[in-house]
């Protein structure tokens, strides 16, 4: 594993989230019936930051939920070590809401597929939209994002690492090459 390049730093992540917050408000015409849902782990912190940005713009709080999609994965038996199951925390009614799902990286689309199934077990939202910090391509399912921080075309030997201060101590997006040690 080798870090190939830093794609985004703290400031560019902040600017991108500010733009996405504006786009979410534009598309949903404000905060009415709007709620955000972060996918564990890093999507949760990005969702919380988007909530802060939205508050700065509209002076309104929107509810934010936490989604753990472990129980909805289609590759549970293939991945090792197994992820620990964490809590899903949605303490508001999602029926007829406009939900913006938030994740750090959009790749195959399988995580989003699992998240859609999980959300639908909680009720019937009016819409589900998708916001991601990075779209790296290589989709395996017919899924696309409504809000994209940055498109980063990658090869299959590369991975994108999104680091957030709350988990990793700093904000940055890095391309890592798996083949070079």
């Amino acid at each position: 594993m080798r870090e190939k390049a830093k794609i985004m730093d703290k400031d560019s992540i902040r600017r991108v989230l500010m733009r996405i917050a504006h786009e979410i408000l534009e598309k949903n015409k404000g905060t009415y019936n709007l709620c955000l849902m972060g996918i564990r782990t890093r999507g949760v912190y990005l969702a919380q930051r988007l909530v802060e940005e939205i508050k700065k713009i509209e002076n309104k709080s929107v509810p934010v939920g936490i989604l753990d999609i472990t129980l909805y994965r289609d590759d549970l038996t293939l991945i090792a070590p197994h992820p620990v199951v964490h809590k899903t925390e949605i303490d508001f009614d999602i029926n007829d809401k406009n939900i913006v799902l938030v994740d750090d990286v959009l790749y195959t689309g399988r995580t989003v597929r699992a998240a859609l199934d999980a959300i639908i077990d909680f009720g019937r939202p009016k819409t589900i939209q998708l916001a991601v910090l990075v779209d790296r391509g290589h989709r395996e399912l017919p899924i696309r994002a409504d809000y994209v921080g940055k498109n980063i075309p990658t090869s299959s030997t590369e991975t994108i690492e999104v680091r957030v201060e709350e988990v990793d101590g700093k904000d940055e997006v890095i391309i890592v090459d798996k083949n070079i040690s």
Binding site: V84, V85, H86
Partner: protein, 315 residues
């Protein structure tokens, strides 16, 4: 921390970290039962057989609900109505179930060690739902889970188990689990209901109930097993209630409120008064609710471990 056992046979053989992993996983699963759609697809396509050689309603139903909330298919076999009556051995029954391509056997058996015997002889996962006087790990796990929810942690807690310790697999599993997690465990019973050398499990022994309760945070009240002929070991259930029954009068003498647990089913007026069982410090029904989450966690973890073992053998 990763769970690496295809079976859950008892708490005696688990580490503190493994027990904590089950409790943490259970706490994530608890939320599923509060949803409008109380089901997740995690174990879709897996089959669970509840193989019960002893009558049990609550444990069997709890396992069945837990499995169904994980999208498993569940088959119940009650030994009375199966080919066990024709003399089939436990291992043969297990091997036949394996040939039917089921994934998990939940076993309740009247012989101590039955689950271990079965687990050694089949490749499917075996979960011990009570073997003789030996262990009942999921009951102890749900007791410990409930304690952890109420007190925040297990380390440093004083837990007193009262009742027929000699014949209780619930007591043994609780003792192993709680002591590993750093609780202080006391047992209290008439001498005839205490196994010899029980202190060697690291517990303090009391014969007097008031003395046992004095410094405790929680009392776990065992059921008097009236279906056994207890007359030989204790004169009558009324006598037992007088000396060992948990009553309001007894609790009022204590300096503080203590948590009341009971694995059920209750014998009201034998080991516990109705007033206490239904009182505000009783968490007996919360234990029942928590049992689902704990059993979901166990079903999930053993399945993952078995798949991992299978994949590793493959590569």
């Amino acid at each position: 921390m990763e769970w690496r056992h295809k079976d859950l046979l008892g708490l005696a053989e688990l580490t503190k970290e493994e027990i904590e992993l089950i409790l943490d996983t259970a706490s994530s699963f608890k939320e599923v039962s509060t949803r409008e759609i109380k089901k997740v697809p995690a174990l879709r396509g897996k089959s669970v057989v509840n193989l019960f050689y002893e009558p049990s309603t609550r444990t069997r139903v709890s396992f069945e609900i837990a499995a169904k909330r994980l999208s498993c298919d569940v088959i119940n076999i009650i030994a009375d109505t199966s080919s066990v009556r024709k003399g089939e051995s436990l291992v043969d029954t297990g091997k036949n179930l394996e040939a039917l391509k089921i994934d998990i056997i939940v076993l309740r058996h009247n012989s101590s060690g039955a689950a271990h015997l079965l687990a050694r002889n089949v490749g499917v996962s075996v979960i011990n739902a009570g073997d003789g006087w030996h262990e009942h790990p999921t009951q102890a796990l749900l007791d410990i889970f409930t304690l952890k929810e109420k007190f925040g942690k297990i380390e440093g807690l004083n837990v007193t188990i009262v009742g027929d310790i000699a014949h209780s697999r619930v007591a043994r599993s609780n003792i192993w689990g709680l002591t590993k997690l750093g609780a202080k465990v006391c047992v209290c019973a008439p001498k005839s209901l205490l196994p010899i050398e029980i202190e060697r499990l690291g517990v303090e022994v009391f014969n007097d109930l008031d003395e046992a309760l004095r410094d405790t945070d929680c009392v776990n009240v065992l059921r008097m097993q009236l279906e056994r002929d207890e007359k030989t070991i204790f004169p009558s259930s009324l006598d037992y209630f007088k000396q060992y029954g948990i009553t309001m009068e007894r609790l009022k003498k204590l300096k503080r409120n203590i948590l009341i647990m009971h694995p059920g089913p209750l014998n009201r007026g034998v080991e516990i008064s109705s007033e206490v069982a239904d009182g505000e410090n009783s968490v007996i029904l919360e234990q029942v609710t928590n049992g689902i989450a704990v059993r979901m966690a166990v079903l999930y973890l053993v399945t993952q471990a078995r798949e991992t073992i299978k994949n590793e053998a493959h590569h």
